[in-house]
């Protein structure tokens, strides 16, 4: 089923034009990597701070206040460049289970980050101080680092793992 949908998209007029323009895919992928870098580094900085690493005078809410908007911007760019890649090379993406696992993971991590953003805003005093920071904050940090790292692993492995049964 995935294969026939993918082939329909791949055979569309616009997809064929984009496929035959050699610079489109590398440029799209490069922008995708730039955006994922902004997201990943932001996630790392916030999470490491939540875990108590990094000798910094800045509070968690200060760091998150600066970096969360960059995470949302990055996610938007990732979504757009990702959609474009799926539109140009749908067969490559849709027939590997890794792609769908990646989408599932992103669809879980984005709302989790939104939850973090809201919870932090509602509990700034408790979350900013190392002593009163709840365990759930550290759990979020660990899940974020492992989760987004796995997204990158899956993203790279789309190029290597094929499963023709989909």
């Amino acid at each position: 089923m995935f294969r026939s949908i993918a082939e329909q998209i791949a055979n569309s007029h616009l997809s064929i034009i984009l496929q035959s323009t050699p610079w489109v895919v590398p440029v799209t992928q490069s922008i995708h990597i730039i955006a994922l870098s902004m997201l990943f580094a932001s996630v790392l900085m916030i999470s490491l701070r939540l875990l108590g690493f990094g000798a910094s005078g800045r509070s968690v809410s200060q760091i998150a206040g600066t970096l969360l908007p960059w995470i949302w911007r990055a996610l938007l760019v990732l979504l757009l460049t990702g959609l474009l890649q799926a539109f140009i090379e749908p067969v490559r993406q849709f027939i590997t289970p890794i792609f769908w696992l990646k989408m599932l993971l992103v669809a879980s991590l984005a709302p989790l980050t939104l939850w973090f953003s809201r919870t932090l805003r509602a509990n700034v005093t408790a979350w900013d101080a190392q002593a009163t920071r709840p365990a759930v904050a550290k759990l979020f940090a660990v899940v974020s680092i492992i989760g987004w790292s796995t997204v990158i692993v899956f993203g790279r492995f789309i190029a290597y793992v094929w499963a023709d049964y989909l």
Binding site: S30, I33, I34, S56
Partner: protein
């Protein structure tokens, strides 16, 4: 430019053969190394961009540049070492191809220029950082260094990704 002897010699080692996936059980060596390289470069680029955007006066305006740099750059260097190590391993596996690849050369040109730019800033404006640290927008020389840095590192990522399409 002829490929240097040592690059050809490295390519003939058992390590190189393993990374190319020619050994039983090593089929995933290259993709794994490549993935670690992507995670490392993402940390390098993202953290440098945070500092560059602060130098441009665009973001993190509520924190001194020197403080932000102290906070972020140790992670940048750790990630850079990881990227250099994983990059070297990929290079060892097929050095001749990379050496003769235009995009590979442009990538390293961008990285070298980024290094020069960083050195000029470090030995120039950064020596008097406490004098202008809180000024917004930052002095023109600082903004220029920030703009050059993010442009050159973007070039590193673009050419890096392009290597995969041109070899």
């Amino acid at each position: 430019m002829a490929t240097p002897e040592f690059i050809l010699a490295l390519q003939d080692t058992a390590l190189a053969s393993f990374i190319r996936g020619e050994t039983a059980g090593g089929e995933w060596a290259f993709p794994v190394i490549e993935t670690l390289h992507v995670m490392a470069l993402a940390t390098v680029y993202g953290s440098i961009a945070m500092v560059d955007l602060r130098m441009l006066g665009i973001t993190s305006r509520d924190v001194r540049l020197s403080k932000l740099a102290d906070e972020v750059l140790p992670w940048t260097w750790t990630a850079f070492l990881t990227a250099a190590l994983t990059g070297s391993l990929m290079f060892v596996s097929m050095g001749e191809t990379y050496w003769n690849n235009l995009e590979f050369r442009l990538k390293f040109l961008c990285m070298a220029l980024a290094g020069v730019n960083m050195a000029i800033y470090q030995f120039g404006m950064h020596r008097r950082v406490s004098e202008w640290d809180m000024r917004l927008p930052p002095p023109l020389a600082v903004r220029t260094a920030g703009a050059l840095s993010i442009t050159l590192w973007t070039g590193v990522v673009f050419f890096g990704r392009w290597i995969g399409f041109s070899i």
